[in-house]
């Protein structure tokens, strides 16, 4: 059976280069056909499939299946596009392998002969000094308390204040209907302008009053009469 890869591979190119390297092959269509099964095998055995990268792995898998089929059936005709796909994969692998080689070289020299600058100096503690936690001068229970309440205020501000304002302004339609019915019981008839005269009414109040008027008319609880456009609306009990 195939050797199971123990390393976790971040992407499909990394996995392919590793498989080809293990067989000591160079990158070509032939070597891709040879490792296609192992590639698919790796994907099948993967328990924690990296869901984010899944599409990268699958696109490459489909190309590998194509390569493998072509190696088994040389008579298989493939389209121009498919040929390009295979060539692309080969090319990308070669480029990726090159950068991998370079990165191995970088790893060898990274941090070995550091060039220090004056800027690096003050940030780093010297050998002779001990790292201590210095309590800031203005640290007190009062300041901590204030900092915490300031912080809480920032978070609570929007949550509490905003809805309060909305509640203040809202007059429900039900309240208006009740109000209107009550008034009509006291008086036999009313004018629409009278309803809104009493207190300082907002535009929203007037709209709600009008809606209440419409609703009561619909329920046949009141009778309304308007003689001209924009004229006074007279309301009487039915």
């Amino acid at each position: 059976m195939y050797q199971t890869a123990t390393r976790q591979f971040e992407g499909p190119l990394e996995l392919l280069v590793d498989l080809i390297d293990k067989k000591k092959l160079s990158i070509s269509e032939i070597s891709l056909a040879e490792i296609a099964d192992q590639y698919l095998d790796y994907l099948k055995k993967l328990e924690n499939f990296p869901t984010k990268e899944v599409s990268y792995f699958l696109i490459v898998a489909s190309t590998l299946v194509l390569v493998k089929s072509r190696s088994l059936m040389p008579s298989l005709e493939i389209s121009e596009e498919e040929k390009e796909e295979i060539d692309d994969l080969e090319k990308r692998l070669k480029i990726y392998q090159k950068f991998q080689n370079i990165s191995e070289g970088l790893e060898k020299i990274f941090g070995n002969n550091i060039i220090f600058s004056r800027e690096t100096l003050p940030k780093m503690p010297t050998k002779t000094s001990n790292i201590v936690f210095v309590i800031p001068r203005d640290l007190s229970v009062f300041n901590m308390n204030k900092a915490l309440s300031d912080l809480l205020n920032i978070f609570c501000f929007q949550k509490t204040i905003l809805p309060e304002k909305i509640i203040e302004r809202t007059i429900t339609l039900e309240q208006k209907i009740e109000d209107l019915t009550r008034r009509l019981q006291e008086k036999m008839s009313l004018c629409f302008s009278e309803i809104n005269k009493k207190q300082k009414q907002s535009r929203m109040d007037i709209i709600v009053s009008f809606l209440a008027l419409l609703e009561l008319t619909k329920r046949k609880a009141i009778r309304t009469n308007q003689n001209e456009i924009f004229g006074e609306i007279h309301i009487t009990q039915t």
Binding site: E10, G11, P12, L13, E14, K52, E53, Y56, V60, D88, K91, R92, K94, I95, Y96, K98, F99, Q100, I102, S103, E104, G105, L106, E107, I109, F110, G111, N112, N113, I114, I115, F116, S117, R118, E119, T120, L121, M124, P125, T126, K127
Partner: protein, 180 residues
């Protein structure tokens, strides 16, 4: 005093990377003159305890990489050398693909065949790469090697990297961006 002496003074005082543009402005000289003076300064400092670092368009004075051992014993540095495969690959691409304009995340993703956003973020936090807005597409960024990266690699310019010319020539020949 000549221009290179003045540049040396500025770099010593600043203690951190200065861009060539900044130096041109301060000394009121053309970029060509400044670049020549920088080459002179680089030659003068060769064989001394202080070296001139040049990463992209930024220059800085640093200690000679050969003094690394002694400098390390003066500075107690927590050296986290481990960059991981992904980090090293990404750095390799940023160094070798950069022809002055930086390398976009798109290019890095395409070469590595995976999303490199996380790796790039880590490298940026460690100060090993510089991030700039992509002049060709303002919605994205390009990445360049930082002076700090060169400090950790112990090189004063990218040409100091082993087989730099050979590799970058090969990379150019591969016609990287004909893909897709």
């Amino acid at each position: 005093m000549n221009i290179s002496n003045h540049i040396e003074a500025l770099l010593f005082l600043s203690g951190k990377p200065l861009s060539i543009k900044e130096i041109c402005k301060i000394l009121d000289k053309k970029e060509r003159e400044i670049n020549e003076a920088i080459l002179d300064l680089e030659k003068e400092l060769n064989g001394r305890g202080i070296r001139l670092l040049k990463a992209d368009a930024n220059i800085m004075l640093g200690t000679a990489p050969e003094s690394d051992e002694y400098c390390k014993s003066l500075i107690k540095e927590e050296l986290d050398r481990n960059l991981g495969r992904a980090g090293l690959e990404t750095l390799a691409i940023i160094i070798y693909k950069n022809e002055g304009g930086g390398v976009s995340r798109n290019d890095i993703d395409r070469i590595r065949g995976v999303n490199s956003a996380f790796t790039l973020g880590n490298l940026a936090i460690r100060g090993l790469v510089d991030r700039k807005i992509n002049p060709k597409d303002k919605r994205s960024f390009v990445y360049k090697p930082s002076v700090r990266l060169f400090q950790f690699l112990g090189i004063t310019k990218k040409e100091d990297l082993p087989e730099f010319e050979k590799f970058s020539e090969q990379i150019k020949c591969e016609k990287l961006f004909t893909i897709q």
